[in-house]
Symmetry: C2
Subunit: 371 residues, 2 copies
């Protein structure tokens, strides 16, 4: 949290999809650019599992954001024209209410007493924030990764609230491969004795479990092809190895994963991770189809009516395969949208939207320029 | 071990590539068919990480083997014509000497005092077994997965010992993606407090770590595509779930992984797993190139001179990608072999050679029929 962070108090109680309600919950968010008088130049960004609301730097917080090269004056998401909003996801731990927050009813941290979280709750809380800013209709709703799933939850539940949509490397329904990976990440955390059914503290913290979960994440966020070029079979210097550990880090790729894990484990709350991970498994836009069998995903997507959409995916993404991006593009087109489908060959896999700014920036900037 | 299991005592001491030697070590193996008078109808099979020598049933052991549908009278590897040998890998725990065996020097289980294991040691011990059977030259050497790497180690170290080679879903050098997956599997085992630096027993056994390692294995052995058709978003009945665990098994794919883990964890020794896993990371046929830079893998493969080769890979294999099978085919061809390269579109990923018998059987049976 910095001077750039603002807070929005959700209507209280805020009902949750699978039951229960949150009292006194809030969302942390940041904005860039200026909302015009007609309030029709707003872009909302729904994030992946771990990012904060700090998508880009600003005068109030000059530190680089997680999508720094994408958002700003003259950048693909041009803040000279657009008013850009990004919120920390409901259920996360970067300022918004989640399992690591205090439950006002008890004065204690929620931990596992936090109600079941779904991506529809994420979508609905975001929609409340947008309306609180006096915005009836978003010029564009952008969703990356898990945020792309939340975005479909937003679109299907709030007809007429969005003109254009950018869908990036996401899924209209969680597939078994992604469920399996996330299930294993959760298992690693839960098997760490320090997790202790959610009752850890800073001294007894499930660091080992979080480390395995993060490494598995990084492995599936990148691609085999990129790593061949990047790491090959480079080994660490003997000095950098720990000789007392016969199975310790030896190859550069192992050291790279260890670095990622180190930067993550203490910076993301384990219970929040478990809740958001499970929410991703539960998401299935097919629930919103009128029909109950056959291509329910397509039938649900056809119920979304927007003017235009840009759907981007990456051929090397093993977690959210290109076939799922094609499915979203086809469904939105069947619903009447003018859809641009951009399959990219970026070698960086699922994470390409964070690093292949050249290709993603061109697609996003071009699409927004045409609105 | 059954009546079908035979044992071969390795020359003692048996020197290991990275130093040290084994005293009184042995290999467990099985055979099918009859060695002809000229001793030139022998096929040797090098296995993946976990299989035993029991590749197929026989009169002495009628239980189905791990490649049951592939080996037998009239089957693709036709035991009416071929004398087939399969050994449990050196370093494994299915009858051959490995970290779970007794060290004759101390009378205690080796555990982590077992010397560093490499796939070249696996290859050399197999070569000793073949020669002990009076076979100067194999009609065909077959290697699957890790066994395919061992096979390249065999070919490059023992020129003139093999006429034909079948290489299946393997790697000429361990790539960073595969190293990363294996490193994480080892980390899960080592972080289990019950692993206890290799000093576990049946009462205190690293079951949780082995479970994560196996599940991650199964995830990477199969393919996303297969699971969409097989599991979709099928959920378990409420009765089959454990209600006291908020993040417990809910989807069919999670139950499938749990079943695989249950069948594996107590049936494979954790220390043996660590040794064989690390041996796979270390393998790089490029070490045998005369040149020291550029395409060392290609240069090493060109030094292998055999008559014919069949190289099979699967497009959905994320662990041993098709590009690596192509590399093997190109390298063996450059060495003078008549090479048949068969890229298959089986949806089953890396494990396809175990389950897509229709396509693998046709390729292998056809190749062997032409020898």
């Amino acid at each position: 949290m910095t001077d750039a962070t603002r807070f929005f108090d959700l209507p209280s109680p805020f009902p949750m999809k699978r039951g229960g309600a949150l009292t006194g919950a809030r969302l942390a968010y940041e904005t860039w650019g200026t909302l015009d008088a007609a309030r029709d130049n707003a872009i909302f960004i729904l994030t992946g599992l771990s990012p904060s609301a700090h998508a880009a730097s600003s005068a109030a917080d000059p530190s680089p954001g997680w999508w720094e090269e994408m958002i700003g004056p003259g950048k693909p998401i041009d803040t000279n024209r657009w008013y850009v909003i990004c919120a920390n996801t409901l259920g996360s731990c970067k300022g918004s209410t989640g399992p690591a927050s205090i439950d006002p009813a008890t004065g204690k941290v929620y931990k596992l007493t936090f109600p079941d979280l779904t991506l529809e709750d994420v979508a609905n809380s975001s929609h409340e924030l947008v309306r609180s800013l006096g915005i009836e209709r978003l010029a564009c709703l952008i969703g990356n990764s898990m945020g792309g799933m939340s975005a479909l939850g937003y679109l299907v539940q709030h007809p007429g609230s969005v003109r254009a949509h950018i869908s990036i490397s996401t899924a209209p329904t969680a597939q078994p491969f992604a469920i399996a990976i996330r299930s294993l990440q959760r298992e690693a955390i839960r098997l760490d004795p320090n997790w202790n059914a959610g009752n850890y503290d800073d001294e007894h913290y499930p660091e080992a479990g979080m480390s395995i979960a993060r490494k598995l994440g990084v492995i599936t966020y990148r691609s085999s092809m990129e790593w061949v070029g990047r790491f090959a079979r480079i080994r660490l210097d003997h000095e950098a190895r720990s000789d007392d550990d016969p199975f310790g880090v030896e190859f550069a790729v192992e050291s790279y994963l260890a670095g990622h894990a180190r930067r993550f484990v203490r910076n993301f709350d384990p219970n929040c991770y478990l809740y958001l991970s499970r929410a991703s498994d539960w998401f299935d836009v097919g629930e919103y189809a009128v029909r109950e069998s056959g291509d329910v995903v397509g039938a649900a997507l056809r119920r979304i009516h927007i003017d235009r959409a840009l759907v981007i995916g990456v051929s090397t993404d093993i977690l959210f395969p290109l076939t799922q991006q094609q499915q979203i593009a086809d469904g939105l087109r069947a619903g009447g949208a003018d859809v641009e489908f951009v399959p990219l060959d970026s070698p960086q896999g699922h994470d390409a939207f964070l690093v292949d700014i050249k290709n993603f920036g061109a697609a996003i900037g071009g699409f927004l320029g045409g609105l």
